[in-house]
Structures are given as structure tokens and as C-alpha cells.
Point group: C2
Chain length 251, copies 2
DNA sequence: TAGTGGTCTAGACCACTCG
DNA sequence: GAGTGGTCTAGACCACTAC
């Protein structure tokens, strides 16, 4: 049942260093100790230290350059993968009260785009769900999600007023491991306007997201539309790590 | 002058594997050979193979899970850091004709936000530049950039019709290494509307970006506003690598 | 020239998946 | 139980920075 695996040492070390940066032990613009010094201090090999630092590097907590010690960057805002996959967890991490209700839901045949994104055959049976998400009671986002058949069965079995679908899925052993997000802008259609209580054609920030499990199998394909001013997305990238692209609109 | 350092083996290996995935040697949803097999085939140690695979992992090219071989994911759209830092390079990578012109430019004292973002003292002298960017002659984006003094001197020395500022800076030895991007939505003000040839209060996709050099020193702080439908941003993230955050709007 | 991060090796053990 | 990826070690050499 439980997850009894010990946390890797490099993750513990990364967490410790992250906390030290946050608490000001290493100040912004300052330098970290050398890898060798960290290895001795924490009684691990240099390889383990480097694994920990690679994590912080990808998060934008520190830079690195051959020849000089690592530089502490400004405190970035990076969230765990879990907080990104789950509206509920995101809201809680903000200290806000998340709400969610299923507005409509139906089994239907996947259209061409959905089938392609979920790697299903065209016309495969999928569960389509329309949800309204609120923050502190205020409508913030409209979510239209499509689930492939086996996952859909689980979702359908959840109570319709379940606040967190993600947590419901996890309870059934579904593991989310990878996500691709595409961010652009769209205008509110009649349904959006009604649900979000905004004018027709009001601008909305659109996030299209495909989430997969560790085997690469798509678990959900979702289009979320946020009211203007309610959300922003932040990305860190660098010469060493890039997972960001700018693309021509739609296409 | 030239950059004579050899490419690291793991980067060569990553490039080779990337090419093989792209060319269909390993098909989508298929499995990669084991790390051990790759090590033998390419005559490197397993550690080097793992470094290469870590790159592909961060890019979303392959997944990984203990116990089974790596799975090839759908071909992701990831761009080099250079293509993200430079409008010109991005446009070229699309096969479109980039254009850019300085609309206005002035030395002035940094305001509170600019000073904070560039890590300068409040009131420090900065170069502010307003540019209009076009794609195939069509106005696409308005860019308002602030440079700290030394970088500003270089920018000011470039010809005002220089298409690529980034390349101009690189020619003077400025290296861009890290960037933070915040994406949200805003409305066109009078200046935006005039330059982009769109209605007042038309929705625009806003990217605020701070780019730093390898020592962590901010090199530019920019607010770019794209016309609706001209651009989208794509991000890949995973349990292993997260560099993405969703934040409350503005705040 | 000393110190530091980048690359690479060879080997070990473990946790997990799957037949 | 065999195969595979995840973690960790100990050591080596190199490229680059800074003094």
C-alpha cells in the first residue's frame, strides 16, 4: 500500500540546499561552497552532490560555470509536478479554497484531435468532462477534459462533486509522470461566458495539456480556459536545460 | 576567436539518439535499447549514456521508469535556448522573414520593478528600448526592453535597424545562459494598438522575460506583447524535471 | 598556478517490472 | 529470477577562471 522507498540522498541534499538558499544562508548573488566541500560536509561522493546540484540548476536556483563556484540566483517560483497537474493542489499551495463541479459529462467517440493527442484510434470511446473551477468561490477556469476508456471508468466512478480528480485517480494507482503544456490566448464562447460570468468574447488564457503516465501512455487531454488576470505561468530555462518552445499560433 | 572545445560525448550521443528517434529508427511508443546495450554500441560507459538520456528525458523525448526500458514519446517541440532568446532566430527556424525596428530608445533611471528585476540599485541608469517585431512584414509583437548600463552601451552602439540584437550582443562577447519567462494576458494600450495595428484593448499574449549571463548577472528585462493567434508557448515538464510554475495572476 | 566545475570510467548494489 | 533503470562511490583528467 504505502510508499516505503527511502528518499534518495541527492534529493535530500537538494532539499537541504534549497532550504538554505531560501533561508538566506547563501544569499542571492552569492556563491555556493565547492562540490568537494559539500561532498565532505554531507558525507557523500561528489557524484551525489552533482546530482543534487543538477536539480537546483534545472529549477533555476543556481547557475554553474566551469572554473568558478556556483552562483545563487534569485529565488525562483517553481512548483512540484503535482501542483501543476492538479488545480486543487495548486490552489491549496496558494492558501486559497479550491472548488470544482462537474457541469457536464458524457461518453462519446474521440474526435480526430483527441484521438491523436491520446494516441487512440479515431472514434475510440472516451469520457468527456466539463468542469467549472473556482477559487474562494469565484469562477476562475473552465476545464474540458477527455480521458481514454480505462481512466474514464475511474473518473466516472468518482463522486461528481469530488474536488480533486487527480487525487481520486492517484488513489486508484494512476501515476502521472509527464505533461506537455501549450499556452496561448482565446476568446470566451457562449458557454465559457455563462460559466465564468464574463462577457462573450472576453479574452481568456488557454492551457492545453496532455498528461501521461510513466509508460508514456496518455492519461488525459485537457483544455483549460482561465479568466484574464487570475493566473500566470512561469518557466525557467537555460543553456543546459530547455523544455520550452515558442511556436507559431495554433497551426 | 573560435570555439575550439570538442563537443562532449554525451551530447553527441544525445544528438545521435534524437536523430534516430526523429527518423523513425525507434518509433513512437516503442522502446529504446538498454543503457548497457547503448554503452557497448557507442563504446562509452554507462554513466555517459545516462547523461545523454537525461538530456532527452528533460526534453520529453523519452520517459524512464525503473525496471523497464525507456519509452519513446511523441516527438516534442523543443527549441534551443538560443531560439528562445532571440526573436530573429526563432523566426528563421520557422522559415519566416523576421523584421525589427527600434521605435524609441532612451537612457533613463530604472523604476522600482526594473531595478529589482535587473538587480540594480533603484534609479540606476538603464537603456530602455521599444521595438516593433514583424514576421513576413506583418506586425506581430511589441517589445519593451531594459538593459543595464554596460549592456546598454553595446546595444546603443548597434545600428538602429539591426535585425538581431541578440546576435549583436553575442558578437561583443555577451553570453546568455538563463532566462525566466512569465506568460499571461494583457490588453493593448494606445501605443500597442497603433504599432500592432489592432483595436484598443485587444487581447495580447504577454511574455515578461529576464535573461542572465552565466554569472547570474541580469542582461535584459523585457516585456513582449504578441498579437492574438501569432504565437503559442509549449512547455514540457515531468516528475523528474520541473521548471514550470502556475501563479496567481499578477499579484 | 591553484581551485573549480565538466566529463568520463568501472564497478557496485538496489528497487522495480515482467514473464 | 533475469533484466533494467536508479543510486552511489572513488578516482581520473581536462578546461576554464581568477589570482
Amino acid at each position: 500500500m504505502a510508499n516505503s522507498q527511502r528518499t534518495a540522498r541527492y534529493r535530500e541534499l537538494a532539499a537541504a540546499l534549497r532550504a538554505e538558499v531560501r533561508s538566506g544562508v547563501y544569499s542571492e548573488g552569492g556563491r555556493l561552497p565547492s562540490e568537494e566541500a559539500l561532498a565532505v560536509a554531507h558525507d557523500v561522493s561528489r557524484g551525489t552532490v552533482r546530482q543534487a546540484l543538477a536539480l537546483l540548476r534545472a529549477e533555476g536556483v543556481v547557475t554553474s560555470r566551469r572554473g568558478t563556484r556556483r552562483v545563487v540566483l534569485e529565488q525562483p517560483r517553481v512548483q512540484s509536478f503535482a501542483a501543476l497537474s492538479s488545480f486543487t493542489r495548486w490552489a491549496r499551495s496558494l492558501g486559497e479554497e479550491p472548488g470544482g463541479a462537474v457541469v457536464a459529462s458524457q461518453w462519446r467517440a474521440a474526435d480526430a484531435v483527441e484521438a491523436e493527442r491520446l494516441r487512440l484510434a479515431a472514434g475510440a470511446r472516451v469520457l468527456w468532462v466539463l468542469r467549472l473551477r473556482t477559487l474562494g468561490g469565484e469562477p476562475v477556469m473552465v476545464e474540458r477534459t477527455v480521458y481514454p476508456e480505462p481512466v474514464g471508468e475511474l473518473v466516472a466512478s468518482l463522486p461528481p462533486d469530488a474536488v480533486s480528480v487527480t487525487e481520486g485517480l492517484e488513489a486508484h494507482g494512476v501515476v502521472l509522470a509527464d505533461a506537455d503544456h501549450t499556452l496561448d490566448l482565446t476568446l470566451a464562447d457562449a458557454e465559457d461566458a455563462r460559466l465564468l460570468d464574463c462577457p462573450l468574447a472576453a479574452p481568456l488564457l488557454r492551457e492545453r495539456r496532455r498528461t501521461s503516465d510513466p509508460t508514456g501512455l496518455p492519461v488525459e487531454w485537457s483544455e483549460d480556459r482561465y479568466r484574464a488576470g487570475t493566473v500566470a505561468f512561469t518557466v525557467h530555462n537555460s543553456l543546459a536545460t530547455t523544455a520550452l518552445a515558442r511556436t507559431r499560433g495554433d497551426a
